[in-house]
């Protein structure tokens, strides 16, 4: 019995970041009242016709470029015919045999040795509406706001070999698309959706065995979990010689139960009866047009990571954390330009700034605020721990550190004269500790430091205190 390997391919739908829908001028804004973003075209009234949004073509081409694809200069739309209540025209305008992009790849991270996962194709299509199934009534409601929102569908080659690789792929993909401003890729808002196809085979084989489609994974973590579970399920069947029980089906990931379940199998497979969309002429993209789009691609994550490690001497690990989110990366660079201290800046970004993003939707402090805070700490005006307090306050106000330090009375006491007085006072009050120290009990030093800090309500500059204390004790 040979060892087995997992074969995974992903199908990702990404909502393009356009202002209006793909075939009409309705807004794509998320969260509006039901059926507010609608018109005769996107609800498929009799007689209406589609007109293609130019930005959809641009962004689809751009996506192909950042994913190293071949851009198909001649490509066209097709109708995919089926009935479903969220599909107003009973067909979806998509691309069948001539998609806009093909044959590309995306590189995974360092822990996967930069492995290239092949991208079979990227095509343009329109989204369907949304169905709301009422719990306590036999009623379904249809909201067409999402109908006609532009999507690209990205299909990977079955090159992925583990749930971890799949997870990394999704993270890298999201970064690429967010950096190049193609989509905001928010799974929680549905602007990125992922389905997976997974099968098992013996290592060394190049045959593809029966694959199972997994749907309903609503976050990258869920994709990871679902794939692990399904992989386990299939492996077990192989181990018991029951691999014939793996049927080509669609299974739904049930996050609550933590496993995949068979979806209601429809008796007949869909016959989509694809044919070329007669209402839209095929797209013929000129070389110049494609080149111009390429020029608009900003610095991509990998390039940025290299530049950060090279120019700022950041570690690979730190750089990877910073570039994971574009706004964070931008913030970091702004900060460094102001502080001229990459190490200090990266520390603050990786710790306090990233932590704040757990509470706030956006980075709650400005780079100017943080730059000045770092300056104050470095100058000794406040201690590092006081600095953290100031940071927390800065999250809720535009005020500058200098004012907040004043307000909160956090100014560090660094004057040697002032501190000498207190050091002397503490020393005189704690003769026992001094004796202990002289007898080699080093812990007493910490105790004395503590007392001094307590006396100054934490405001004493610890560095100065330490120096004074050491000097005094030497003298004793």
């Amino acid at each position: 019995m040979g060892a087995y390997e997992t074969v995974i391919g992903l199908e990702i739908h990404v909502e393009l970041g356009t202002k209006s829908k793909i075939f009409c001028g309705c807004s794509t804004e998320f969260g509006r009242k039901a059926n507010e973003n609608t018109c005769p075209v996107c609800i498929g009234l009799p007689g209406v016709m589609p007109v293609l949004n130019e930005r959809v073509v641009e962004l689809a081409v751009k996506a192909g470029q950042v994913l190293n694809c071949k851009i198909n200069k001649v490509n066209k739309t097709d109708r995919k015919n089926y009935f479903y209540p969220d599909l107003p025209k009973a067909y979806q305008i998509s691309q069948f045999d001539m998609p806009v992009c093909s044959e590309g790849y995306l590189e995974l991270g360092d822990e996967f040795q930069g492995k290239k996962v092949g991208i079979t194709r990227i095509h343009i299509e329109e989204d369907a509406g949304k169905l709301i199934h009422l719990e306590d009534e036999d009623v379904t409601l249809i909201d067409y706001n999402r109908a006609g929102v532009p999507l690209i569908e990205i299909v990977t080659e079955p090159d992925i070999r583990s749930a971890e690789e799949a997870h990394d792929f999704l993270k890298k993909l999201r970064n690429m698309l967010v950096y190049s401003e193609i989509s905001d890729c928010k799974m929680e808002e549905g602007s990125l959706r992922c389905d997976a196809n997974i099968s098992i085979r013996t290592i060394g084989s190049d045959v593809l065995n029966t694959k199972v489609e997994i749907k309903n994974m609503n976050s990258f973590k869920e994709v990871h979990k679902a794939l692990l579970k399904e992989e386990k399920r299939q492996l077990e069947l192989y181990r018991y010689g029951e691999e014939h029980k793996i049927v080509q089906e669609t299974r739904r990931w049930d996050a609550g139960k933590g496993r995949t379940v068979t979806m209601r199998t429809k008796e007949d497979a869909h016959d989509y009866r694809y044919f070329p969309e007669p209402d839209l002429p095929p797209m013929i993209l000129e070389e110049k047009y494609i080149d111009n789009i390429k020029k608009t691609i900003p610095e991509l994550p990998m390039e940025k990571k290299e530049r950060l490690t090279k120019n700022y001497g950041l570690s690979q690990k730190d750089a990877e954390v910073i570039i994971d989110d574009k706004t964070t990366a931008d913030f970091f660079e702004e900060l460094v330009s102001k502080t001229k201290d990459p190490k200090e800046s990266s520390n603050w970004v990786i710790t306090e700034v990233l932590r704040s993003l757990k509470e706030y939707d956006e980075i709650p402090v400005s780079s100017q605020q943080l730059a000045e805070l770092i300056k104050e700490i470095k100058s000794g005006s406040i201690s590092r721990s006081a600095g953290k307090k100031v940071f927390d306050k800065m999250c809720d106000t535009d005020k500058m550190p200098v004012d907040l330090i004043e307000e909160l009375g956090l100014k560090q006491i660094s004057s040697e004269d002032k501190l000498e007085e207190i050091v002397n006072e503490i020393l005189s009050k704690n003769s026992e500790a001094v004796e202990d120290l002289n007898n080699g009990k080093d812990k007493a030093f910490g105790f004395l430091m503590g007392q001094i800090m307590k006396e100054t309500k934490g405001k004493a500059n610890p560095g100065v205190v330490k120096k004074l204390l050491e000097e005094k004790i030497e003298k004793m």
């Binding site: 202002k19 009422l134 095929p282």
Partner: protein
């Protein structure tokens, strides 16, 4: 061109249409006669011709601008049942 009843029933399902047994009999006959006529296609010499001819140079596109439909209240005026601004239908099981 002979067509089986199962095939026609399958097509009816795809098209969401229902036929009574009599109607189905009639339809089968008609299909056959029409499909017989379609055999003409087989006789044609189509060498050198392709389904697509990409000769339009320009890209038919529109600007990415939001344009609200001015008559929105009337969009759903033909719908039988509305609830909370949505169209109401019997529950659909996924």
């Amino acid at each position: 061109m002979k067509v089986s009843r199962e095939e026609v029933e399958y097509i009816a399902k795809l098209a969401n249409l229902k036929f009574s047994p009599n109607e189905m009999d009639k339809l089968l006959k008609e299909f056959e006669s029409i499909l017989d006529h379609f055999e003409n296609l087989k006789k044609e010499d189509l060498e050198g011709f392709d389904m697509y001819s990409f000769d339009e140079k320009s890209l038919r596109i529109r600007k990415d601008e939001v344009v609200d439909f001015e008559n929105r209240e009337k969009l759903f005026s033909n719908v039988k049942k509305m609830r909370d601004n949505c169209i109401e239908i019997p529950k659909v099981v996924d």
